[in-house]
Every structure is written in structure tokens, then in C-alpha cells.
């Protein structure tokens, strides 16, 4: 397969996943925010949402203060935010358009359908209800797209690039959300009740509530939640699950063989797996956990870069 197409598939997938995750975070926050009355806390919460879904620094450059409506717009449909749901869906469609000859027609139609309705959404008045409906539409589009991929694509090279993109994006986002919540926890540790509430919210952000509650009814222990979202090997949004699957997928791609060009990538993936394996969440305090999560996010970027280099997704520098 052409490197350019592999690159497009990889980014199509990452963008779909990013749009879904960001939309879920924003949607979840809009629901739970109702319960916060303190202005100062509310502002800080919004800052955290920005940190999870985009970059707070970028936002601060455009706006001089935390403004709820501005942030919602910024995360949802702002053309100025490369991580807004609208932009992610747009990039996903552009990438799908560039790979139309290899993706299923149905996948293209799902993304194209969203694109065609985008304009109508933009024209709707800016109400909470419309916002929620739009975010739901993004999430549903992503899920439908994944359904098409799973039910129609051969488990070959294009499929692998799509899945690797999705898992890496997901793992990184999970780490980001947990990181922000750990930070909050550390700061506000004394209040037991708010503690409960933060971890519940984290699970909602990561779509992990249903899965978690079946394992741990009906408690909300921070260590349990962290263990579940970091180390649970059967939950498809946990860090471990994502990294294991990236590793397996690349093993398959290389038919189990390590070649000179893929050696670095394999070694890195083994290292990351080991790091997750050896992390003992029970014995770590919030500070250490944050360090681990930060470190893991860096690892994700390294894996992403190595993956791109291994398959020539990044133009090599021309030396003449």
C-alpha cells in the first residue's frame, strides 16, 4: 500500500476517535456541571476540559478569559481550534476522500453524511439542547464508522493502519483524562465526597462507567478506577488494552518477524508494555501516578513517530 494512503488512513482514524472522545468529554461536562455552583470551581473545571480536549494555551491566546459559551463553541465548531469536533470530522472526511478507493463505500458515506449535515448544525441557534444533539451526532457517526470498519473490512494492511490509529489516539486520551483527574484529586484530596464525584466523571468521560460498575459495584475507589482504566486487559478503552492491541497488530503486519527497519518500533512497544505491567497502582500516590501518566503520553507520541517512520509515513529528509 502507498505510504501516503496508509498515513491518511491512520489520521482518518485518529481524527474520528478524537472527535468522539472530545465530544463525549464536553457532553459529559455539560451534564455534570449543573451540580457545581461555585464560580471559581466552575472556571477551573472548564480549564481542565480545555486541557483534555485541546490546548488551554491556544485558547488563552484567542480569548482573554474563561467564558463558558466561548469554550463550548471553541471545542465544538470553532475553525480556529484544530481539535474541535467539527475540524476533526472534517479532517477525517478529507482523509477518507483521499483513500476512497480502499475504504468501504459505506464508511465514506457515513463520514460524508455527517459533513453534509454540518452546515445545518451551524445554522441552528446556540442552545444547550442543540449542542448536546450535535455532540451525540458526532459520537454516533464515529460509532457507525467503526461498525462499518469492523463488519466490512478485510483484516489486512488498511484495516491495521486504521486500528493502530484508533488505539493510539484512545490510549493517549485516556491518559490525559486520568492525568487531569489525578491532579484534581491531589489538590482536593481531603473532601471524600468530591472525590467520588471526580472519578465518576472520569469514567463518564472515558465511556467506562458501565464496564467499571460491573466489576466494582457500586463503589468508586480512585485506585479501582485507575486500575480499571490503566491495567484492565479486557476493557477496550484501557491503556493496556490499547497498547497490547497496537503491539499485536504490528506483529501481524510483520508476520511475527522483527526486521531491521521495524526493530526500534518493536523494542519500544515491548518497553511500554513492560512499564504498564510493572506499574503498581496501589502503591503509588497521586504525584507518582501523574508522573507515570505524563510519561506514558510521551511514550504514545514516540510510538506514533516510530510507527510513521517504520512505514515511511513521514517524508524522509532529502539529502543531496
Amino acid at each position: 500500500m502507498l505510504s501516503r494512503l496508509a498515513d491518511s488512513l491512520y489520521w482518518m482514524s485518529r481524527n474520528i476517535e478524537r472527535a468522539e472522545n472530545n465530544s463525549r468529554v464536553l457532553s459529559g461536562h455539560l451534564i455534570h456541571m449543573v451540580e457545581v455552583s461555585d464560580e471559581g470551581i466552575a472556571d477551573r473545571d472548564w480549564g481542565e476540559i480545555l486541557e483534555i480536549c485541546a490546548s488551554k494555551a491556544d485558547y488563552d491566546q484567542l480569548y482573554n478569559r474563561i467564558d463558558r459559551e466561548a469554550i463550548i463553541q471553541y471545542l465544538m465548531m470553532s475553525p480556529l481550534n484544530i481539535n474541535s469536533s467539527m475540524n476533526c470530522m472534517l479532517y477525517a472526511r478529507e482523509n477518507a476522500k483521499a483513500t476512497r478507493d480502499i475504504i468501504p463505500d459505506d464508511l465514506w458515506e457515513v463520514l460524508n453524511h455527517f459533513h453534509l449535515s454540518q452546515k445545518d448544525w451551524q445554522e441552528l441557534p446556540n442552545t444547550r439542547q442543540h449542542t448536546q444533539e450535535y455532540l451525540k451526532e458526532v459520537i454516533k457517526t464515529s460509532m457507525t464508522a467503526q461498525g462499518v470498519i469492523e463488519s466490512t473490512m478485510s483484516r489486512g494492511i488498511p484495516y491495521t493502519f486504521i486500528k493502530v490509529g484508533k488505539w493510539l489516539e484512545r490510549a493517549e486520551k485516556t491518559a490525559r483524562v486520568l492525568n487531569v483527574v489525578c491532579e484534581k484529586n491531589r489538590r482536593e484530596a481531603p473532601h471524600k465526597t468530591s472525590n467520588y464525584y471526580y472519578w465518576l466523571k472520569a469514567l463518564h468521560f472515558l465511556n467506562g462507567y458501565d464496564g467499571y460498575i460491573k466489576e466494582h459495584p457500586p463503589s468508586m475507589e480512585s485506585k479501582h478506577v485507575l486500575n480499571f482504566m490503566i491495567k484492565e486487559s479486557t476493557f477496550p478503552r484501557s491503556i493496556r488494552y490499547c497498547i497490547d492491541h497496537v503491539s499485536d497488530a504490528i506483529q501481524n503486519l510483520e508476520s511475527g518477524k522483527v526486521s531491521h527497519y521495524s526493530e526500534d518500533l518493536f523494542q519500544m512497544l515491548e518497553l511500554v508494555k513492560e512499564e504498564i505491567e510493572q506499574t503498581s497502582i496501589e502503591q503509588m500516590d497521586m504525584e507518582e501516578l501523574m508522573k507515570f501518566l505524563d510519561h506514558f503520553q510521551d511514550r504514545c507520541q514516540t510510538v506514533s513517530r516510530m510507527f510513521s517512520e517504520t512505514y515511511y509515513l513521514i517524508e524522509p529528509v532529502h539529502v543531496r
Binding site: 500500500m1 505510504s3 501516503r4 476522500k97 476512497r100 465514506w108 458515506e109 512505514y311
Partner: protein
């Protein structure tokens, strides 16, 4: 169905001057009569949405950037009886053969110039004549025209005439297939009891035609690797490229996916470089290779021409075809047929005046309001004056342009383009149509049965180009004689 439908002084594909449908449209007419007004409306909408949903669009560029638009689809098909089609097919094959011989000739011995049939100036001053780049080059099958899209019109007597040959990068073939696909989806009733030439095998015909152009130095033990080279997703015909690549099962590549090393072309894959043998390119000649043509081209591949000349890669359509399909050379095609084949042309041209001839120039300047004037280098309906529909200012403007550079323009009498009913906005009305016929040449010549019927949906308009509000229709070639119960 056709209340108040006036054929006027035009040849109508479907309706006789007494208001009754022609024989080969009788059954279609009866079937449509059975649809209620509501059904017709709903089906029409479903059909249009189908194109949008599938993203079968072309991109129109204007001052605000590009917008994706669908080509409006009209469900009333152009039906052609078998006998009539056979003649068209024969005429087109004859024309292709002559044009290909012409291209081979002028890039080698130039016999037709030596014989005094075509003036040397006309060839050598042609901006698309790339003798410096490809003169004397031997190409696979000696075939320059792998795919042509010949535009046909019918005059007021119903006779087919060739309007343009399109030997460079004819687009629109995907629409032929999509029009048929949508027709079958939305109007299945129309297909139940009638035999229409199928399009099923046409894409494998196209694939065979591509892969028959094996370059001289290709590995004889391997199947050749063919690719379709597109300028990218922002090109107006990108959907066409996607569709053809997908259906033929060949890789759709951009210039940046290819690299030339030691005069061999490779594509960059996730496993490293892979050799490419055949390139069906949808990039114009002057953008193909910045080393040989325009140095500012970012779409092309440096070194491609040299690989081509060495026989390491085939390029389809051949480089330099533009000299044969421009509006000035068009006038000489009947002469080419006589010269190379010693036959009389089966399909006539439209009468054309060269404005470099002072006598003709005077005539044309005096009759601008009756004639169609075209820039010989333009396509897509741009830089064109349709006399009877023009304003005084437009004529003044064209007069100025013509006098400034007469050799840049040709003029033709305004042909009374045939018309056919179109159904839009809940009613049937007559619209002008033409027909683009696709011809594939490899080891043999294959004419796609039917083609893309283009329709000028704006009432009274003569411009069928999709960039200017034209639409498409399905085209049916009847088999088994095509009478009412065929």
C-alpha cells in the same frame, strides 16, 4: 406526461413533431405515464440525493474557492436503436484509427505534411505539439490514444456530427456507470422488460486496455503494475479518478507518491519502493515532469519523461495528443481519414471557419450574432460566444479579441442541437443534449455502448458542460432491434 411540450424547429430525440413519441420511445413513454406526479417527484429527489450521499461530485472553482457540487441527473434516458448505434460505433472507430495514425505520423515522418495536406505551421505552432520532448519515441502498440471521449451532437435532421475529439484526459466515464446505477436503483420498473446493452464488462475492457500497454523494458515474467496518476482530491474530476482506479483495482497515486531513480519509476509504499510499469495519468502534459515541461509543476514527477523515452514506463494517454484534438486541427480530421485510410468519413464534422483566413474573418465579423465562436485552446465551454444568445457587449468584446488574435479562434454555424425532454421541478420540458462517447484502444478498439448524455438543463441554453449548469442522462442502446416490445 408531456402536456404543452413543444418540439419547435429542433430535432427531438423522443417526440415527433405531431407530439407523439417516436417508435423506440413508445414503451418508455407508456411506463412513465403510469407514474403519478407524486411518484415522479419523489423518485427525482431520491435520485439527486443518491449522488450527494455517495459524494459523486465535481469541484467548481471560483473567486471564493472550491465547492463540491453534484452533476444534476435527469431520468429521461437517451435511447438509441441498435442500427443507428452501429453506424456511430463504426464512424468512431474509423476516426480513432485515423487520429492515432496522424499522431504517430507527426511525431515521426510527417508524411501528411510532406503531402501538403496539413500546413506545417499549424502543427509546429501548436502549443500542444511536443516534438522536442517526444518526437521519434517508440511507444507500446504504437498507440497514442488509450482513451478518447468523442463529443457527438445531432443536427436538425437528426444526423450525428462530431463536435470534439478529446484525446487528452476525457473525464466523465464514472458518471456513465453511476447514472446507470442510480437509474436501476430508483427506476427499476423501466428495466424489467427491455434489453439494453449492459455496461458490466466495460471496466474490465478498460483494465485490459490499460495493461496491454506494456513498456519495452518491463519484466516479461511479471504482470505489469499499472497506476492511475491524479492531481489529487482538489481536482474537479477527482471522483472520476477514484472510481476508475477503484473499479480497475489499480493504485490511485499522486505525483508525490512516485519517484524516478535511474530512469525507472517507483511508487513509495509502506514496504519501500515498488516498480511502476504503466501510468494512466490524469494530469496534463505540461505538468507531468518539471524537468521536461513546466518547471513550476508540483503535481508531476521529475524524470518521468526520460523513463518514458527509455521504454521503462508507459504513459496513457500518450504525451503530445493535444495537437490532434484542438479546435483548429479538428477541421482536418476528415482529410486525415482520407489520407491514412483511403476512406470517406462516416461521421461528418460541424462546418468550421478558420479566422486566420481574411475572407472568412470578414464574414464571421459580419455575422457574429449567428455564429458560435470558440477559442481553439479553451475547453469546458469557456471563452466561447454563442451568437444568437449573446449581448451586444459580448459581441463587441469578442470582436476585439478576434481582431487581436484571429488564429486563436474558430467559428461554426449555430447548430440546432437536438433536444430531449428533461424532468426538473415537477415538469417536462425540452433541453439541448449532446453525447460523449468513450473509446478504449489497446490491442483492439472497444466503444463503450452509449456514453454520457449531457443536457443543458437551463431552458434554451446550449452549454452542456457540467461546470456551467449541465446535467447528465443515462444512455440506452437497445438490443434486439429495439422496437416497442424489445
Amino acid at each position: 406526461m408531456l402536456i404543452n411540450y413543444q418540439t419547435g424547429t429542433f430535432f427531438d430525440e423522443m417526440i415527433q413533431s405531431n407530439g407523439q413519441p417516436k417508435n423506440h420511445y413508445q414503451w418508455f413513454y407508456q411506463l412513465v405515464e403510469e407514474f403519478s406526479e407524486q411518484e415522479l417527484k419523489e423518485k427525482h429527489e431520491t435520485a439527486q440525493l443518491n449522488f450527494l450521499r455517495q459524494g459523486i461530485t465535481f469541484t467548481v472553482y471560483n473567486h471564493t474557492g472550491g465547492t463540491e457540487r453534484t452533476m444534476p441527473f435527469d431520468f429521461v434516458p437517451i435511447i438509441i436503436p441498435e442500427e443507428q448505434w452501429n453506424k456511430v460505433e463504426k464512424g468512431i472507430k474509423q476516426r480513432m484509427e485515423a487520429l492515432n495514425l496522424f499522431l504517430e505520423d507527426i511525431y515521426h515522418d510527417q508524411e501528411i505534411v510532406e503531402a501538403g495536406i496539413i500546413p506545417r505551421d499549424l502543427i509546429e505552432n501548436n502549443p500542444y505539439y511536443y516534438h522536442k520532448q517526444v518526437g521519434g519515441v517508440k511507444i507500446p502498440l504504437n498507440n497514442h490514444i488509450f482513451l478518447a471521449g468523442v463529443d457527438l451532437i445531432r443536427d436538425e435532421h437528426g444526423d450525428y456530427r462530431v463536435l470534439e475529439d478529446n484525446l487528452r484526459n476525457p473525464s466523465g466515464m464514472s458518471y456513465v456507470f453511476q447514472n446507470r446505477y442510480v437509474m436501476r436503483q430508483v427506476y427499476p420498473e423501466l428495466f424489467y422488460q427491455h434489453s439494453i446493452e449492459s455496461l458490466e464488462h466495460q471496466l474490465s475492457e478498460l483494465h485490459n486496455a490499460v495493461t496491454s500497454h506494456v513498456p519495452l523494458n518491463a519484466d516479461p515474467d511479471k504482470k505489469p503494475t499499472a497506476v492511475l496518476l491524479t492531481p489529487g482530491m482538489y481536482n474537479s474530476a477527482y471522483y472520476d479518478h477514484v472510481f476508475l482506479a477503484q473499479q480497475m483495482g489499480i493504485e490511485l497515486v499522486e505525483g508525490r507518491d512516485l519517484i524516478v531513480k535511474d530512469d525507472v519509476v517507483y511508487m513509495k509504499t509502506i514496504r519501500g519502493l515498488k516498480r511502476v510499469d504503466i501510468i494512466y495519468r490524469r494530469i496534463d502534459d505540461d505538468f507531468l515532469d518539471p524537468e521536461a515541461f513546466r518547471p513550476d509543476s508540483a503535481l508531476g514527477v521529475a524524470g518521468l519523461l526520460s523513463a518514458y523515452k527509455k521504454g521503462n514506463v508507459s504513459i496513457l494517454n500518450g504525451i503530445g495528443n493535444g495537437v490532434a484534438d484542438d479546435k483548429a486541427m479538428y477541421v482536418y480530421v476528415p482529410e486525415m481519414i482520407r489520407f491514412y485510410l483511403d476512406e470517406e468519413p462516416i461521421l461528418p464534422n460541424v462546418e468550421t471557419y478558420f479566422l486566420s483566413d481574411p475572407e472568412k474573418l470578414d464574414y464571421v465579423l459580419d455575422h457574429l450574432d449567428e455564429l458560435v465562436v470558440k477559442n481553439v485552446g479553451a475547453s469546458g465551454g469557456y471563452d466561447m460566444l454563442i451568437g444568437p444568445q449573446s449581448t451586444e457587449e459580448e459581441r463587441v468584446e469578442f470582436r476585439r479579441k478576434i481582431i487581436e488574435k484571429p488564429s486563436q479562434y474558430i467559428a461554426q454555424p449555430t447548430i440546432k442541437l437536438s433536444r430531449a425532454p428533461a424532468y426538473q421541478d415537477g415538469r417536462f420540458y425540452p433541453c439541448h443534449v449532446d453525447l460523449r462517447v468513450f473509446v478504449m484502444n489497446g490491442r483492439y478498439t472497444n466503444v463503450l455502448p452509449g456514453g454520457l448524455s449531457r443536457v443543458a438543463l437551463k431552458e434554451g441554453s446550449l452549454v452542456v458542460n457540467s461546470s456551467q449548469g449541465g446535467g447528465g442522462k443515462d444512455t440506452w442502446i437497445l438490443t434486439e432491434g429495439g422496437q416497442s416490445n424489445a
